[in-house]
Amino acid sequence: MRIATAKESYLQDEALFDSRTQRVWAALLGLALIAYPFMANDYWLYLACLVAINVASATGLNILTGYTGLVSLGQAAFMGLGAYTVAVMEHHVGGFFLLNLLAAGVVAMAGGIVVGIPSLRVKGLYLAIVTIAASFLAHFLFVNSGFTGGTGGMTVPPAQVAGVALDTSFRIYWLIVPVTVLMVLGAANLFRTRIGRAFIAIRDRDISAEVLGIPLLRYKLLSFGLSSFYAGVAGGLWAYFFRVVTPESFPLIMSIFFLAAIIVGGMGTILGGILGAIFMTMVPEVLRILVGLLPVSGDTLQFVSPVRTIVFGLLIVGFLIFEPHGLAEVWRRIRRFFHLWPFRN
């Protein structure tokens, strides 16, 4: 049972993990992430990589939508910018993959800042519609730019480390997961800084934030830029993972997927973005496995398969009705239970 966490210095007060219990669990999670590739088969490794990419992108969207209150449906377009940047860099420049990933983030960031300019005048649904335009513009760019391979897209050679190609799920795991962990830690730290607090102030009431001395122009664009940077790096990881980038790889529905992920996970919490991305990626797979366990085969399978989609939809609706604060709140309740366990909470 944990009664309280006594903080005796400002450093302790500001710490990301403020108790020994948290540090122990974080260390165990780190060890589990290191051990995982040696225990999982190709299928589970593939899913882990896919989840990690989605976590990185959802965390980026959470910075913008969850923390700054700016709704965006352009996350997939920014991922596309990142993915194409990596593909183009690999084809025309070569270079070290981490530099390519950084370039992916920077290009997407630039795109995000441009798309974010209207956020100074419009909010809410109106802003969402503006950001949809990013998807169409990006699609047009990918199809019609001379260097993006047109409708057929581009193949991406595997990232190389000391001559070793990261061309299997096992190998690329060691790129994707550490980068994602760094990005998540970066986002968690961001909200302990002036910038992060400014984002939250803008979300809660932008006029009040301006009165408090927060320049809205700078911080809204910064939020768009950071969010797009995350999407760009996630897109770059996506390109190295799937190794084919086409204009149809990043449809509008993908942006809705990420928005749904942070809503289901819990907006405005780092954990929410992580849990939401895990939920949205893994639940259809878990449902697939459950359907696979049913004693059905042949023609029956074609009737059972769409049921997965229905159940997935119902689960999302169920979460929104019964736990509008998302999975992060469920997690908090579980933690609270153990804080006071064995006494009733």
Partner: protein, 395 residues
Amino acid sequence: MSHRYTGLSRFMRRVVAPLGVSLGMALTPAAQAQGDDIVIGGSIPMSGVFAFAGVGIHAGIGDYVKMLNEQGGINGRKVVYVPEDTGYKVDVSVAAFKKITSQNKVNLYYGDSTGFSKTINPELDRKGDILMTGASFATEINDPDKFPAQFLVGPDYTEMFGILLKYIAQETPGATVAFVYSDTEFGRDPIESSRKRAEELGLKVGAEIMTPPGSVDVSTEVLKLRRARPDYTIFHGYVLAPIPEFVAQGRQMGLKSRYMGTFWTMDNSTVMQMGENADGFMGVMPFRYYYDEEKAPMLEKIRAMRPEYQSTAYMQGFMAAMLMTEAVKRTLDEGKELTSKNMKAALQSIRDFDTGGIIGVPISVKGNSVPVGRIYRADYASKKMVPASDWIILD
């Protein structure tokens, strides 16, 4: 104390037990094939936008495998078909591939899209023991050097256009044709190469009209078509919409063009959705229709198994399973190991192969495709597609 146990048991009941059961079920491997079975894996779109085809493909593969096993399998080895639904999403298709290949020793694979094929081919090359085909007829895949472990069940899209243009050149030499296609990878695929092919055949390409996929309001595009006054209009990159709108508005404007489509538009039920405007709609079809009356022993078997109409996607799945297993049979007959290289070589050795009438002429595999097809025409009175040409084989 009672509180303590009540709280704990409530937590166990609400959180730990369901989580444990779910995880336990999730980590339990699905039923696996036996050691020497030949395994066909499949990323099949049984839900999502492509489900109309996926359901037929699934049934077609399943039926051929069942038929083959009833005849003793391949050299006494049972064939097992392991499908997974993909919802026609590339990342889900890849997950299905990983799941199936992690749990089974897969020899053959059916993929659901061009995107999936392009994504998974580097892995096929690395694995070296899987031969793949799928729902894609993309021209890009018809390249044995770039896609050595893959083949197409029929002609690629450029070849489909080639068959249509060859028919047009024979029927109406010097005719004007229009290409109407969707602004997608699928839609743009054969346009550039077919423009050249049309010129070679002495045809004039009067208009090239690109529309968004599935668009509804095409009035402006129909006006462009009317200005070009083509003798033939070929649609590609759509399943149905906006083809009915083009045909209906074109006819209202007195356009005398003959309208044509490619494989995914040409299922009987799809064409007949146009209503009376379907009458006379033509297109290329690599396989016979379910109800064709010409002699076809394999079609008779299918009709005996399934008395109700089966789609062209069913035929595609059926033929995919037939060609994949034929490649395995030839490889085993030669006493070779089931590697993708050996299976592909065996597949490419197929010359004048009798498909039991699913395709009306003996077929040969050329490159990664089977460049053969026939022009069918819609007869709305009988609600059937009827042959409008003999089988056309491209060189």
